[in-house]
C-alpha cells in the first residue's frame, strides 16, 4: 500500500499536476473524466458510476462527500466498502469531499458519518457487487446463484478454475447502471433494495485495520490544507475588527508602505485583508496596517453575571420538549423532599491546533477552493452566494485540516481567500493567525441548566423537571464572516444546540425535559458567535442532569450506580454500559461522599451515563483533589461505549481516548473570557488546554452489538466525562461544583463556602 502511494505521488508530481496530494488519491477516477474541473452538471446519485469505479488493475475508487476530520472515519468507510465488494482493503481508494465528483451526502457532522454515510456507501458497493456478478454470470456462463467472490475475483462455486476478476469484467470502464437513490443528504437511501451482507459474513468490518492516513502524518508527507500550493499563489491575511459590524472608517495604506512584497490591501464592504508575495510580508502587513474602525453597534455581555442573567431572562425562540410524562406539579406537591439546582456551562473554543486555512483561485466567473470544510457542498454554496456565481462554477476540493470538532462546519476562511483572490486575480492562500482563530472561531455555546426533582417518602423520584437554556449555533443562521462584511443578510436565529442529555434516559413517573434556544446577538455575528462544538449541547446538559442525579442519590444516601439502575430499568443498552463500566472500574458500592479522609489530598470516584445520537456511554472518573491548592487531578477515566456494531475497534478506542482527554480539559480548564468588546483569550497561554502531565489514564470497555447497525463514535464518549468528574470531586471533598470549568480558584472558594 505504501509503495503504491508513493509511486502515485511521484506520478502526480512528475505529470506536472498542480497539487501533490498524498492521501486517498485513487489511480482510476480519471478514466471516467471525473477530473473535469467544472462539469456542467453534478454527478447523479442514481448513477452507480457516481459512487464506485473499478480500474484496469482492479483497484476500487469510492467517491464520497464524507471526509476524514482526523478521526479515521475514512478508514472505517473503506472497510465497509471492501467488505461489501469482497475486495482486499488495500485496493480501496477514497475520493473524499470534492464537489466536482461526489454526491452531497451532507456534511461530516454529529457523529453521523458511520451511521448514515456508511450504509449509503455499503449499499452502493453492494449494488456494484451485484452488477459485477451479473456480468460474471454471462462471461462464465453460470447463474449468479452459483458464483462466489473472493479478493475481487468471481469464481464458480465448486469449480474454482472457472473465474474472472473484477478488473477483467469492468476495469477502466463505466458501469452505466442506474440505482435507486431517494431523499437527500444524510437521509438519502441508496440502492435500498439491494441485499447487503449479513454481519455474520463480515471479515473486514470489525477488525482493527490500521488507519490509512496515519503513516504520512508521521513523516511530513501528508498534505493538509495549509500545504496546498498552487503556482503563482500569493499569501493573504485577514484584518478584523473587535466586532464584525464595525466598519473600517479609514484604512491607511501608507502605514505599511515600508513592508516589501505587499501586493494589495483588499477592502470590500467591511472586509479588510492584505495580500503579499510571502507569508511573512502578509503577516507583518496585517499587523501593521492602521485601520480605524467605527464604534460597534452590538455590545457583548460584559461578564459572566450579565451572560447568565441574559440566558435566564431572555425569551426562547424555539423549545424542544424531549420528554413530557405524567403531571409535574401535583407530583411535586406530594413530594416528601424536593431538590433544585442550577448549572452553568461557559463558552468554549474548538481550539484547532492549526488555525483556519484555505486556498482560493478565482478566475473570471469560476472559483476553485481548497478547504478543510466539514461540508464542502456547504462551502460551495456559501462561496458561490458571496461571489454571485452559479454553484456549478465553484469547485471545492477537500484537504484535511487540523482536527476541528465542529469548527469547520461553518468554514469562514474559504470566503476570505475567495475575496482576496478575486481582488488580485491570482490564487491566494489565507492562513488565519492564532489570534484570529481564538477571537473569531464560532464558540461552543454557553448554557444554563436548571433542574428540579421531587422524591416521595420511600425515596423514589416521582418528579423530574429539567430545562436547558442554550444559545443556538448562530453561524447556521447567519452568513459567514466575510459574507456578512460584504453585506449579505443573515437568514435566521440558527439551529438549536441539540436535545439529548436532560435525564430523558431515566424513567420517572412525572418527567419533563425541555431544551430551549435563546436568541443570541442577532443579526450581527460577533466574536461570541456560536456553532456546534463536539457533542454540542449534550455535553453541558448531561453534566447538569448527571450531577443532579448524584446530588439526589447522595442526599438519599444511596450508591450512585444503584440509584441510576432503579430508573434505567427498561433501557437495556445504558444499563449494560453502566454495569460494564462499574465492573471494569472496580466500583465499590457506597453512597457519596467518601468517608472523610485526612491529609491534603482527597480521593474520590464518580459515575455518569451518557446518550448521544443513540450511542450509549458510561464513565467512571477517579480524581484527587488538593485541598490546599484546589487543584483537581483526574487520575483515571474508565469508559464503556456502545455504538452498535463496531467497524474498527482500535480506531474507535483511539477516538474514545481522545474524547475523554478533551473532556477532562474542557471540564477542568476551559472558558472563553470576554468583555463587552470581545474575546480576551487570544492565545494558548490565556486559554490553556490539557497537557501531558495532566492527561489521565484511560480504560475502555467496548460493547459490540453486531446485530445492530453501526452508530457514531466521533463524539458520544465525551458526554459523560464532566459529570463523572464533578461527581468524583463531590465524592472526594463533599463539595458540589456546578459551574464549568473546575478551576483551582473555584474549588477553593467552594471549599470555603
Amino acid at each position: 500500500m505504501e509503495t503504491k502511494r508513493i509511486s502515485r505521488r511521484q506520478f502526480v508530481k512528475g505529470s506536472g499536476a498542480l497539487i501533490v496530494s498524498f492521501n486517498f488519491l485513487g489511480p482510476v477516477s480519471r478514466v471516467l473524466g471525473q477530473n473535469e474541473t467544472f462539469a456542467n452538471t453534478d454527478p447523479e446519485a442514481t448513477a452507480l458510476d457516481s459512487w464506485v469505479s473499478i480500474a484496469q488493475d482492479g483497484s476500487v475508487t469510492v467517491f464520497t462527500s464524507k471526509v476524514d476530520l482526523g478521526t479515521g472515519v475514512v478508514t472505517a468507510l473503506s472497510q465497509i466498502v471492501a467488505e461489501e465488494l469482497d475486495v482486499p482493503f488495500h485496493r480501496i481508494h477514497m475520493e473524499t469531499g470534492d464537489t466536482s465528483n461526489t454526491i452531497d451526502q451532507a456534511a461530516t457532522v454529529g457523529s453521523r458519518t458511520i451511521e448514515r454515510g456508511g450504509p449509503q456507501l455499503r449499499q452502493a458497493a453492494a449494488a456494484a457487487r451485484q452488477e459485477l456478478l451479473k456480468l460474471a454470470a454471462v462471461r462464465l456462463e453460470t447463474p449468479v446463484e452459483q458464483l462466489t467472490v473472493s479478493d475481487g475475483v468471481v469464481s464458480v462455486i465448486g469449480s474454482p478454475a472457472k473465474k474472472i476478476s473484477y478488473a477483467n469484467l469492468i476495469g477502466g470502464r463505466r458501469f452505466d447502471v442506474k440505482i435507486t437513490a431517494t431523499g437527500v443528504g444524510a437521509a438519502m437511501n441508496v440502492a435500498a433494495e439491494v441485499r447487503a451482507k449479513d454481519h455474520k459474513e463480515y471479515k473486514i468490518v470489525g477488525t482493527s485495520v490500521p488507519r490509512i492516513d496515519l503513516p504520512p502524518k508521521f513523516t511530513g508527507e501528508f498534505i493538509y490544507t495549509p500545504d496546498v500550493r498552487v503556482p503563482g499563489m500569493l499569501h493573504g491575511r485577514v484584518v478584523r475588527p473587535a466586532v464584525v459590524n464595525s466598519k473600517p472608517l479609514n484604512v491607511d495604506e501608507t502605514s505599511i508602505a515600508q513592508i516589501a512584497g505587499v501586493v494589495k490591501v483588499v477592502q470590500e464592504g467591511s472586509f479588510v485583508g492584505v495580500v503579499a508575495k510571502t507569508e511573512w510580508s502578509a503577516i507583518q502587513a496585517a499587523r501593521t496596517l492602521k485601520v480605524t474602525w467605527s464604534t460597534p453597534a452590538t455590545k457583548l455581555p460584559a461578564n459572566n453575571d450579565e451572560l447568565h442573567a441574559y440566558l435566564k431572562n431572555t425569551k426562547s425562540f424555539a423549545e424542544r420538549v424531549v420528554a413530557d410524562k405524567g403531571s409535574l406539579e401535583p407530583a411535586f406537591s406530594q413530594a416528601a423532599k424536593t431538590f433544585e439546582a442550577t448549572y452553568h456551562w461557559p463558552f468554549q473554543l474548538h481550539g484547532m491546533i492549526g488555525p483556519s486555512c484555505a486556498v482560493a483561485d478565482v478566475q473570471g466567473n469560476k472559483a476553485t477552493i481548497w478547504a478543510g470544510s466539514q461540508g464542502t457542498f456547504n462551502t460551495r454554496r456559501q462561496v458561490a452566494e458571496m461571489l454571485g456565481l452559479p454553484e456549478k462554477n465553484v469547485r471545492v476540493i477537500y484537504r484535511e485540516s487540523a482536527g476541528c470538532y465542529g469548527r469547520l462546519s461553518p468554514d469562514d476562511v474559504p470566503q476570505d481567500a475567495a475575496l482576496m483572490s478575486r481582488a488580485v486575480g491570482k490564487p491566494v492562500r489565507v492562513q488565519w493567525m492564532r489570534e484570529d482563530e481564538h477571537a473569531w472561531e464560532p464558540k461552543g455555546p454557553a448554557q444554563l441548566m436548571t433542574a428540579r426533582a421531587g422524591v416521595d417518602a420511600q425515596g423514589k423520584v416521582i418528579a423530574w423537571d429539567y430545562m436547558d437554556r442554550s444559545f443556538p449555533w448562530t453561524t447556521t443562521g447567519m452568513v459567514l464572516l466575510a459574507s456578512r462584511q460584504v453585506g449579505l443578510k443573515p437568514k435566521g436565529q440558527g439551529i438549536p444546540n441539540g436535545t439529548d442529555g436532560g435525564g430523558e434516559i431515566y424513567s420517572f413517573d412525572n418527567q419533563k425535559v425541555v431544551a430551549a434556544a435563546i436568541p443570541w446577538l442577532h443579526p450581527d455575528p460577533t466574536p461570541l458567535r456560536t456553532s456546534n462544538l463536539r457533542a454540542p449541547g449534550d455535553l453541558a446538559r448531561t453534566f447538569a442532569s448527571e450531577s443532579f442525579m448524584d446530588e439526589i442519590a447522595s442526599s438519599l444516601a444511596v450508591d450512585p450506580v444503584q440509584f441510576r439502575l432503579r430508573y434505567l430499568s427498561s433501557s437495556k443498552r445504558p444499563t449494560d454500559a453502566l454495569l460494564a463500566v462499574t465492573k471494569k472500574a472496580g466500583w465499590q458500592e457506597r453512597p457519596s461522599p467518601a468517608p472523610a479522609s485526612n491529609g491534603s489530598k482527597a480521593k474520590g470516584r464518580g459515575v455518569a451515563v451518557g446518550n448521544r445520537s443513540n450511542t450509549m456511554t458510561a464513565a467512571v472518573a477517579e480524581v484527587e483533589v488538593d485541598r490546599a491548592t484546589g487543584k483537581i487531578s483526574v487520575k483515571r477515566v474508565v469508559l464503556a461505549h456502545d455504538c452498535g456494531l463496531i467497524v474498527n475497534p482500535d480506531g474507535l478506542t483511539n477516538q474514545i481516548e481522545g474524547n475523554v482527554i478533551q473532556g477532562v480539559s474542557r471540564t477542568l480548564m476551559e472558558e472563553v473570557q470576554f468583555d463587552a468588546s470581545g474575546v480576551k483569550n487570544l492565545d494558548w497561554a490565556s486559554y490553556p488546554i490539557i497537557t501531558f502531565q495532566d492527561a489521565p489514564e484511560v480504560d475502555i470497555v467496548l460493547i459490540n452489538r453486531p446485530e445492530m447497525q453501526p452508530l457514531g463514535g466521533g463524539e458520544p464518549s465525551i458526554v459523560p466525562v464532566p459529570a463523572a468528574i464533578a461527581n468524583a470531586v463531590f465524592d472526594a471533598i463533599g463539595v458540589r461544583l456546578r459551574e464549568i470549568p473546575f478551576t483551582p480558584e473555584r474549588v477553593l472558594s467552594a471549599l470555603k463556602a
Binding site: E2, I6, L69, G70, T71, G72, P210, R211, D213, L214, P215, K217, F218, T219, G220, E221, F222, Y224, P226, D227, R229, H235, A260, G261, T278, E279, W280, S281, I283, M352, I353, G354, P355, E400, S401, A402, G403, Y405, Q431, M433, R434, D650, N654, Q655, E657, G658, N659, I661, Q662, D683, W684, A685, I689, I690, T691, F692, Q693, A695, E697, V698
Partner: protein, 154 residues
C-alpha cells in the same frame, strides 16, 4: 532581502529572503517542507518544532538569520513512509494520532529526548512533551509510542 545559507536534512540551500522571516516560513514556503507546521506563531504549541544541531527549537519564533551554521533537521529528515525512523515506526504501530497536526512536534521533541535519554520513564516523557499541545487527546498513545521507540534498536 538577503541570501542566507542553510543546511537542512543534510542538504545545503541558499534562500533569498527577508532575514527577519521566522525559520518556519522559509522551511515551508521556500523549501516546501511540510513537516514543521504553523500552529500558533507564538512558540506556545510546538507544532513547528525542528531540531537545530541537537536541540529542539520552535521554528515559528526564530528569525532565519539567527540559525547561523547550525544544522536543521525537520520531520522529513528523520525518515519517510518507505523508510521510517524508529520513532515514526513506533507511532505507526501504536496508531498514535488522530488528526496528526501536532505530531511533528511530538516526534521531533521525542527525538531530542531519546538522543539524550535512551530509556525514558513515563514521567520523563510527559515532562519532555508537556509544552507540546494536542487537541485531539492522543497523549496516552504518544507516550506509549515513545516508549516503544525507545525499546527498538536505533
Amino acid at each position: 532581502m538577503a541570501r542566507i545559507s542553510l543546511t537542512v536534512n543534510g542538504k545545503s540551500h541558499v534562500v533569498d529572503t527577508d532575514p527577519s522571516t521566522p525559520l518556519l516560513y522559509v522551511l515551508r514556503d521556500d523549501l516546501e517542507l511540510n513537516g514543521p507546521r504553523f500552529g500558533c506563531g507564538l512558540s506556545q504549541c510546538g507544532a513547528c518544532t525542528v531540531i537545530l544541531d541537537d536541540k529542539s527549537v520552535r521554528s515559528c519564533g526564530l528569525p532565519v538569520s539567527a540559525v547561523g551554521s547550525r544544522k536543521i533537521t525537520t520531520l522529513e529528515g528523520l525518515g519517510s513512509v518507505a523508510r521510517p525512523h524508529r520513532l515514526q515506526k513506533a507511532f505507526i504501530e501504536e496508531q498514535a494520532a488522530q488528526c496528526g497536526f501536532c505530531m511533528n512536534g511530538m516526534i521531533m521533541t521525542a527525538k531530542v529526548l531519546l538522543d539524550k535519554n535512551p530509556a525514558p520513564t513515563d514521567v520523563d516523557i510527559k515532562r519532555a512533551l508537556n509544552g507540546n499541545l494536542c487537541r485531539c487527546g492522543s497523549h496516552v498513545r504518544v507516550v506509549r509510542a515513545i516508549k516503544r521507540a525507545a525499546s527498538m534498536k536505533a
